[in-house]
């Protein structure tokens, strides 16, 4: 028994020595380092605006963003109600009120998160009120458009919320004139995504 124990110890020592030598040899043959690589898909809240019959205008991260074509609301008496919007240079009215079938603007979520869109008027015109309603575009199922009549004012109004990536919302806009004198009046509609 004692002899067996000695043999076992001897064998174990030999193994340990062999391991130590072998291990030392291996240790000299290669060295290592590593780099963790992280790819991040950053959040994008980009969108595009397409005016009726026009090409799309892409949003820009910096206010006020990129300008679309000009929209006209043409009245004759200065007291009309629900005047349809018209893209500059186009003769056709867009609308009609209140069941909008041809939106003046279509918003598309080109980002990679769901978006809420707001519209507000940068500088108001005293004799006019701008109204809108929104609807989800055909084939767009993610999002809630504000179908009820809203007002575009300086405070702003959300016309769609939760608009999914690549989904689109139609926006129809009308103007009410009240004792407007002859001439042209200018304002700016601003759109934001968040």
């Amino acid at each position: 028994m004692q002899m067996k124990t000695r043999k076992a110890i001897a064998v174990m020592v030999m193994w340990m020595m062999a391991f130590m030598v072998f291990g030392a040899t291996l240790a000299q043959s290669q060295e290592y380092a590593y780099t963790q690589v992280i790819v991040t898909i950053a959040t994008s809240k980009s969108f595009s605006v397409t005016l009726n019959g026009q090409t799309a205008t892409n949003s820009n991260p910096t206010f006020p963003g990129t300008a679309t074509q000009v929209i006209w609301f043409n009245g004759t008496t200065g007291n009309e109600q629900a005047v349809n919007a018209t893209v500059a240079g186009a003769s056709a009215q867009v609308g009609p009120w209140p069941a909008c079938t041809t939106p003046i603007e279509v918003f598309k979520n080109t980002g990679n998160v769901n978006l809420r869109f707001n519209v507000f008027q940068n500088n108001t015109i005293a004799c006019t009120t701008f109204m809108y309603n929104a609807s989800m575009a055909a084939g767009s199922t993610t999002g809630t458009a504000n179908a009820t009549l809203g007002v575009i004012d300086a405070a702003g109004s959300a016309f769609v919320s939760g608009l999914g990536m690549n989904n689109q919302t139609n926006l129809c806009i009308w103007s009410n004139f009240s004792a407007c004198g002859g001439g042209s009046y200018y304002t700016t509609f601003n759109y934001t995504s968040n």
Partner: protein
Amino acid sequence: MKKLILALALMISIGLSLSFEFGPMSFGPKQTKYIQNFESGTLGNWTNSSLWIANTATTPLNGSYSMFFQGTGTGNTRLFAANQTGGTSGWQDVQIIATVKTNGLDDGENITLSVYDGTTWYTIWSQEDVTQQTDTWNLNSTFFNNANFAVNWTCVSNGGANERCWVDDFAIRGTPLGGLRITNLSISPVNGSSVAMNQYSLFNVTATAQCNGGVTGECGDVNASLYYNSTNLVPNKLVNTTTGETPFFLVDKYIRPSSYKTTSTTWYNPTYAYDGDVNDTITYASSQTQTSSYINYTLSTKLDSTRIFYTFNHSNCAVSGNLGGGCGIGIYNWSSNSFITLYNATIARTTIFTNNTLVTKDNGTISSYGDVLIRAISSGNSTFSTNFFLFDIYMSLEKSNPQSCSAMLQGQNCTATWQVNATGTPSTQYWLNVSFNSESSYILPNSTGNFQINISAAGPASYAFTITVPGNNVTNSDPSFPGNPTPNLEFVYNGSGGGSQFYVNASFNYSGATSWQNSAVPAEKCTNTGNVAITWAIKMNNSWPSNIVMFANDTNAIGGTTTYFIFSSSNQLQLSVAISGTKSLWFYMNFSNINDAGGTKYYNQLNHSSS
């Protein structure tokens, strides 16, 4: 009946053979590759002048027809390679057997057998008067496995009465490759191994070969010869032109003068500037007068059974004095206080060479275990007016080259070992190759092919490296996988949903800040901090999604169009990095049709290793 006669003739032909090459007759059973007895009544696939015909009327040698010459002039009949299925391709130990006869030829007229190796026709037999006989001609290895092998019979006659030549029962025999040959060659160290650059740091080169082929026989006396790449390590000038022996390593850079002595009894330390180059220079003061000056090159390693090849040169050794003289060199055994006696030559105590003479000497065996001094000596009372140069002391260990494997029988192995000195310039390479050659022309030689040996710095090989990322952050390698982490490498896609973005720059985020690669700062720089040249290997743990491509180039062409290397789990980028050298990489990422939600992250790991 004729076939029986032919078979008997072939069987006894060995005993009757007229050997073209000396050597063992057979290494395995031969087979008949081509045979023609002309019994079809034509010469078959022999291309001949009209002087040779298949003839039955003039007493054919065997059977009814022989190939027969009767005419005036010189007539050739040839069997080209294309007419014998590719010459001797696939055959070795080739022999020709034929029954021949001449009649009535005059002096200077004869029948001749020639063979063709693709370039030259060689006459292997020619005779005037030939009584009908069946002969065998064993060919040498030039005609083995030769796709252009061809045979030609020529008969020269002036057309005198009954002047004739016959050839019959012609055969080409041999052993198909797959018979005995030198096979299963190997060499160690393996290709690409590194050896440390220590003075007299020896390593073994071992090569093995086997006599193989599945048939009984022997491969003859086989020699194993070690070769080095002639453009590396040892200059051709060191080839011993007397013996043809080729030394295959050198220690030129590391034999340095250890001391010198002028007219005084004091030994001085060398005043040369040792720059690691081959030139060691001792500068004497201008017009310094000396008597028997010495420069000692101390070879402290025991040099038993060692041969020293030295090359001595000097320049600007303008001497003058009572004896005129010049500069010289001798080999001195310091412990015995005597110059070494050489076994095949006696080198004079002072060997005088003229200026700028390059001399290579084989100084034979040095049996001393004591320190050996190579002593450079001026002759007599001389004045060294300028510099005294010694350079290029080469040394070669004696281990016979080639080495003998003796007679190798089928199935036997031969192992030959050489000791090679690892000394050389770090980060350089040379190539070793062992060729096994049989003294028998029947056995084709074989060689291991070149094996690259990398010269590394002295000491245990270290494959250490560092990775430096933008912001000058340095990570040391570690012997254990996966090693130490560098700061995280990041790529950020900031395009729109469903969009694409190309050549996105790499950045490293650590210590609360982001550092970017730029035209002057690579994403990762590998610095070889070890003592051997390394291969820097970079590989991803996992592949990226198909619409995300990470790639690298080794220029600073940020945003350029040159794709250098695309990473995946199966693609490994490998770059050689010299000792203390660096290699830089710039990383980029292409994103295509990204439909992932904002905030999505992908993780991967770039593994670096050295070997």
